[in-house]
Symmetry: C2
Subunit: 114 residues, 2 copies
Amino acid sequence: MASRTATRLVHPDRRELRFTTVLAALGDPVRLAIVARLADAGPDGELACTTFALPVSKSTQSGHFKVLREAGLIHQRNEGTRRLNRLRRDDVDARFPGLLDIAVPQGREVITNW
Amino acid sequence: MASRTATRLVHPDRRELRFTTVLAALGDPVRLAIVARLADAGPDGELACTTFALPVSKSTQSGHFKVLREAGLIHQRNEGTRRLNRLRRDDVDARFPGLLDIAVPQGREVITNW
């Protein structure tokens, strides 16, 4: 089996989300762009890591997804050889109402200006 | 003269404020607490660095103020041997409406839990 499928992906509970950790996670153009893309994929939208076409190396990209997951912003799961990502919009909106409404348009701007 | 008074304090213009830089600056409990204290000092409220009683060393504290200033969140000026800080609420509200309304209460919680 590939090692990836054996990796346990840890996700904080909604109540464990910390505001400063979430802000720090969103405080990077690549991560903000990822969040905007996932937001635009809709509430149940899942996107594979490979579909993002980010202007960074593959390992840097993986690091960014990890930061987002550990902050509680995204849910990740493995499906075969793919890693699928979903925005935890309900959880983030419940804990920090309005934050994603501000952040997502800013993330779209990042993408537009790439 | 003290070297401090000779230091030129650089402040970005309102239009130069970047969303991700502002989020990264707010994404730390000490800096978020500083912002909340300054917000509660009112629109023209200025507080000297020494009045914050933060749970970090003096040099770490200076670093945090610098990050906030360079992100455009606070204005700093020297008055004698004191360095006075003011929240750039108008500028941040103009560029990122609603962000401080979310962040300031979170910063107050940080202070409460210290």
